[in-house]
Symmetry: C2
Subunit: 657 residues, 2 copies
């Protein structure tokens, strides 16, 4: 049965690619045996209930370009993926896009494709499992107890993020994480040895992983045995499975079989070589039966058993069960955070520290940490312990100096469910993890990024540490909420907003330097954050001569300039824009109420790239911003030298009048 | 002498930090012995001629936060860094910014600080050396023959880019690359074992590196011996040197000594512990003498010897010498590239292929490659061989699936001088290397990025492979030239512009899909690229009712819409903007000539985030752009579904009129 099922999986995959006339047949042909072994012989999931069973095993196809194989597997395993869906592979509005997308298709646990990030995501999935198990399991009541699997390729392992993620997993002894490495010795451009000579076994051992070798990638029994062995290791395991890319096809073993359809004839030859003599998209009933008797039956029994187990748990530990269910439902209490009074001032990274302490008390499922900058980002939860191999229940994550993996890991944690997670670094180093923020956004994951030291006010560390373009770059990502609060009240509301936002990541952009509390934020900040921008202080003269628009640390300069202009007889309004991209998406009426079109004398002020503000200032306004790199000097001196003073704003305003 | 000199280096470093009341004393105190050993006993540089001697050894302080030590070294070694400069550490307009900057200070070979990138840069420096040696050396005339050194810390090695860079270096057998690893077991937040358990020796061996251990980081003789041993290895070497962070200070061995000044008292105690009893910024003459007799004399002799060697080479191989000198001077011939005629069409990634073949012939010092997408990016130089450990003279670089390292490596290659280098990947994966593009820009390096598959027109691969926000993000970086050409002629001019640009990186943003050649580009494209934007096709009716602004693949849609609007009686101008950020920096007169302020009916069209275009369209115009993620379907269908049709542009234009 096994042989026929594997052949069917291979055939279905290349039929899918051929029909789309686009896609990657190479991986499916090489990796179908390992996928079959894992899915039909080991994986504990219940296709009938899809991803509703919380304690299911998690599987991510890190090598997402092999999506045709995954969709074929989903079909065979009884998920809601029909033959017609395979036939619509890579077509408009299909549930079978070019790379797997968690938002599109039943049975998919993660969006994947951008190389290396799948490994970060499975590390996050596995971390979430350990944390929840530590929090909720009781002796005899192991309600959180599942494995996390992935299939990755050479591309995943060559990406730097793999090192970060695997190193973290080894350090944390995530022994329920099993990576199947499709080792075919081929990359897109040619043989792997053209670009790499790594000793993978030695590398994995250096990272405290178990390395298991399976010499024959077609040996389903050997692969199954290796997976079972990996499950009992006290370390995370990588099973290196030697395969032939495009196995059975005319270009088997060559990069030519990687990423393009074979044509009708090529497919026919391949299927003949595989001994699979069925028309396209035809699956023998025995194959369906095989999956029915494998993954489907096993999964149903497993979920039923778990449901009983959970009922017993709930009876024995009703409060814990409620806490878990609240976490799974992202249930929030009315969040209570301190208010700030005019006359005081505080760096928003310090406000952040206070927010995190308070929120950690009110939201027991909140956890997180920093990429080795906790002491600067102020992200440590004071009354919790460190999350570690010895203490998976700790809520302070030490991501290490691994920004990119931190973000991908957070995506995995968010995909898992059951917690809310945050991660922190300096704002300028958002560059290192940007590709994973994109993946948070594509997957609609409510990950919280705490990025401090948000402008040239960083000061002495100089140009390499001073963000300029990062705000524009992040605001341009679809489905990302970038919040740059202006004072303590806006910062507290930003944190609340972050927790209330469930369909996108939130980026909190915070200062190193003190921010004076502004008149009006205690009261207006909540709605202001909601709209992205709001009238903080209306014209003090009754007539509206112009508008000063600022975000974050520059709003107080606008307020000062407003006072200077008032003395000169001009009435200007100050608009605080904690979230430019949110504000730009508001309806026209609201925007008009904040920025009346008839008022053309407008200045936007932000200690960052001007890119983006032109949409608010138009052809007649001006922007006080930065179009060169920062410098090394005390932050207040830089602000002055770069023109971030009320005097400069005032003078620019008078210029455009 | 050694002991006193090391103590002086330590003392000077902490004096420097103390005076600034900002900076990192921990690394200098731990790593001064290795820095001294390398600089005074081994390094071949000539401080008197600074970086003019081409064959000098290269040194990069990857752990750039230890800048106080580097500046102190530069001072002691006789570079143009005075005590006053140390006293101005981290101050406005000083030559001693918070992190080393190659553009600011004599003797600095690279800007460093963002962790891990220093390792990428030294790999690039070493690659450049091997390549030039292979091209220019002759038996008995080894005019290119130097080593590349760096000091890195745990942070560098934990970053993913380190894996990419070290793996590439091991694969390429860059045996003249020596990394000194300041192994102090401490990170910013605490002990290293809180976040990592890596076995560094095993890791380095897995990457085909020599690993040498020095147990006592204060043993200058042992360190010197280890460096000499590393120099004779046939592999790149990492010397792991066990040190004590903040050695001698009250918080020695703790993360508390990492990143903040100790105070006057702390400094006094430290210096007493070091047995260095001199006032702040006081260097005993014996120490100056020691450096005079070490690095300074050695360097002068070495350069003199090399000058003789080079004279002999030049006599024996005048043509090669001229070729080398031309390369060092970035001398370009009149570049000749094919012109494109209206009626034809071609994907700009294909035009790119043609450009590279032609330019490779005309510019013998041009080399480059792709991060394993050469077959898609079309970057292979057909009539050259592959750069490899067996053939360092090859011009096709196989960077591997290591985008971030590719970019950092290119920065190193550009820093070295003697070649022009390009690197390629899909545009969406610019996310992976963005942090290194920033470093190209800060360092004013003329690196060329070839980024193809530039919009949702990628099609079937779907959202994960379709750039949206990347254009905005890259345009916002200071000192970056982003060129998104509209057709074959603009693409050829973009490549020329890239080669003629010496003070910043150029990013070529190219299509997967065909672009029709537009009327007017053959003639206007050169100046148009120069200005960033230009009138491609003026109003056909004589009166100017509005302006359609586009970049890249969307310009042809604007041209089509222009025709449709003409039929309806409207005269609109089409403006091609291959480089938005360049155009925005043009003087007001030029901008007015292209976009007269009185013409407010403007539509910008770009298949990407709208962010940035508002500066041209103002409050009365509109933008046809994308504010959500892409999808998986054939590219032409996506263009239609996302509104990139002449009809939609026409209709939007009529709406705003």
């Amino acid at each position: 049965m096994t042989n026929l099922s594997v052949a069917a999986l291979r055939a279905l995959s290349i039929d899918t690619v051929q029909k789309a006339n686009s896609g990657h047949p190479g991986l499916p042909l090489g990796a179908s045996p390992m996928a079959y072994a894992l899915w039909n012989n080991v994986l504990n999931v219940n296709p009938k209930t899809d991803r509703n069973w919380f304690n299911r095993d998690r599987f991510v196809l890190a090598a997402g370009h092999g999506s045709a194989m995954l969709y074929s597997l989903l079909h065979l395993a009884g998920y809601d993926v029909a033959i017609e869906d395979l036939q619509n592979f890579r077509q408009w509005n299909s549930i079978t896009p070019g790379h797997p997308e968690v938002t599109h298709t039943s049975g998919i646990e993660a969006t994947s494709g951008p190389l290396g990030q799948g490994l970060g995501q499975v590390v996050g999935l596995a971390m979430a499992e350990t944390h929840l198990a530590a929090k909720f399991n009781k002796a005899g009541h192991e309600i959180i107890d599942h494995y996390t699997y992935t299939i990755c390729g050479d591309g995943d392992l060559m990406e730097g993020i793999s090192q970060e993620a695997l190193s973290l997993a080894g350090h944390l002894k995530l022994n329920k994480l099993v990576v199947l490495y499709d080792s075919n010795g081929i990359t897109l451009d040619g043989t792997l040895d053209m670009s790499s000579s790594d000793d993978v076994k030695k590398r994995m051992e250096s990272l405290n992983w178990e390395h298991i070798l399976v010499e024959d990638g077609n040996d389903v029994a050997a692969i199954t045995k290796a997976i079972e062995a990996a499950k009992t290791s006290d370390k995370p395991s990588l099973i290196e499975i030697k395969t032939v890319i495009g196995f059975g096809s005319p270009n088997a073993g060559s990069n030519k079989s990687h990423g393009a359809p074979f044509g009708e004839e090529g497919n026919a030859t391949t299927k003949a070589n595989l001994g699979f003599n069925h028309p396209p998209f035809t699956v023998p009933q025995e194959v369906y039966d095989d999956f029915e008797n494998g993954i489907i039956k096993r999964g149903e029994l497993a979920e039923n058993a778990w449901n009983e187990k959970y009922a017993a748990y709930k009876a024995a530990y009703p409060e814990l069960a409620k806490e878990l269910e609240d976490a799974l439902n992202n249930k929030l209490p009315e969040l209570e955070l301190p208010k700030y009074e005019v006359g005081t001032s505080e760096a928003s990274r310090i406000t952040n520290k206070i927010a995190i302490q308070e929120l950690a008390k009110q939201v027991p499922y909140l956890w997180g940490g920093s990429a080795d900058l906790a002491s600067s980002n102020n992200t440590m939860i004071a009354d919790s312990s460190n999350y570690s191999a010895e203490n998976y229940g700790g809520r302070n994550i030490w991501y290490g100096i691994r920004e990119f993996a931190m973000a991908a890991v957070m995506n995995g944690i968010a995909l898992h469910g059951g917690t809310r997670v945050f991660g922190a670094t300096f704002f300028v180093f958002s560059d290192y993890l940007k590709a994973a923020i994109r993946m948070s956004a594509i997957q609609k994951l409510p990950v919280i990024y705490v990025l401090t030291h948000d402008s040239i006010a960083v000061g002495e560390d100089g140009a390499t540490h001073e963000p300029i373009e990062q705000l524009a770059g992040l605001r341009a990502i679809p489905n990302v909420q970038v919040l740059r609060p202006a004072d303590g009240n806006e910062t507290m509301e930003a944190w609340k907003k972050a927790l209330h936002t469930l369909d996108k990541p939130t980026i909190l952009v915070l200062t190193r330097q003190n921010l004076p509390v502004l008149e009006g934020t205690d009261g207006k900040a909540k709605a202001g954050i909601e709209h992205g921008g709001y009238v903080l202080a209306d014209t003090p003269t009754g007539k509206l001569d112009g508008i000063l628009i600022g975000s974050g640390s520059e709003v107080s300069l606008c307020v000062d300039a407003q006072a200077q202009l008032k003395e000169k007889g001009y009435g200007v309004r100050v608009v605080s824009v904690p979230s430019l991209e949110t504000f730009l998406r508001e309806d026209k009426e609201y925007i008009e109420s904040v920025l009346p079109k008839s008022t053309r004398a407008r200045i936007a002020v932000e200690a960052a790239s001007p890119l983006g503000w032109g949409a608010l200032t138009g052809l007649d306004g001006d922007i006080v911003a930065i179009d060169k790199f920062g410098a090394s000097a005390p932050g207040n001196i830089l602000f002055e030298k770069y023109g971030f003073t009320a005097e400069n704003i005032t003078s620019k305003f008078l210029n455009i009048l």
